[in-house]
């Protein structure tokens, strides 16, 4: 299949991205470049200098809200992609409203508590919507430990499910972006399934 046909098919879909940090920003850019028509991106945070080691932002965007900056960056890549940016902290209530109508939701949080909250909310309150989780990507190397696992038709996980961030094991661009792009790859695989 030609890329123009793939892009035309993917343009019909809406994907939610919960969090616009290392996972969310890189995943959103991969989905935009592939032609996913609408991206709903939610994050309350602003860009800090320490984010630039792995997140898809630039030095002149420090202090800007992440979803605003990401919308700007995606418009520079492909102005034809619709980005709906929500500058909000996600919780069990607003997740359902913000991501309603999304075909798939990407879990792209930093904290494990937020990951758990998002997964529980979508699995219980939005049945049938697949969630693509990122779990375990701190540090460097160990490339072959990064993997993808289908739990069932609505839950997929990318990462090594082991490496947690700490002061001595920070998240770095390569492993975070690998997992973010694995998540994007799962999204595209699901959206291309019935063509």
């Amino acid at each position: 299949m030609r890329f123009s046909e793939i892009k035309s098919h993917l343009s019909k879909f809406r994907v939610g991205i919960a969090g616009a940090g290392g996972l969310g920003s890189n995943c959103a850019v991969a989905l935009a470049r592939s032609g996913v028509g609408t991206l709903v991106i939610a994050d309350f945070d602003v860009i800090e200098e320490t984010n630039l080691n792995r997140q898809y932002y630039f030095a002149d965007q420090i202090g800007v809200n992440k979803t605003v900056a990401l919308k700007e960056n995606i418009a520079r890549i492909d102005p034809g992609i619709t980005v709906i940016a929500h500058q909000e902290k996600l919780d069990r209530i607003n997740i359902i409203e913000i991501f309603s109508g999304c075909n798939i939701i990407v879990e792209a949080f930093d904290s494990s508590v937020m990951k758990e909250m998002l997964i529980e909310t979508v699995q219980v309150s939005m049945p049938g919507i697949p969630v693509i989780v990122g779990s375990g990507m701190a540090g460097w190397g160990k490339t072959n430990d990064l993997r993808y696992r289908k739990i069932d038709n609505t839950l997929y996980v990318c990462g090594d499910e082991f490496s947690e961030v700490s002061d001595n094991l920070p998240p770095l661009a390569p492993r975070v972006a690998i997992v973010a792009n694995m998540q994007a790859n799962v999204v595209i695989e699901l959206l291309m399934h019935n063509i």
Partner: protein, 67 residues
Amino acid sequence: MKILLNNRVEEFMEESMSVSEMLLQKKFSFKMRIIKINSLLIAKEKYDTTIIHDGDNVQMLYLMSGG
């Protein structure tokens, strides 16, 4: 009973057991996790009262901070 735990067959002496008992017996102490039994998500508050039976498909996912 025999169950499928993360796609591997696991045998237990008991005929059935709660999720909490299974976690204790397997020494799964890491708290940030998602558990699904036969594709149904089990809330943390229900680990004591949800019973795992022979033939169940138990999936466990560890949630690591970082992203």
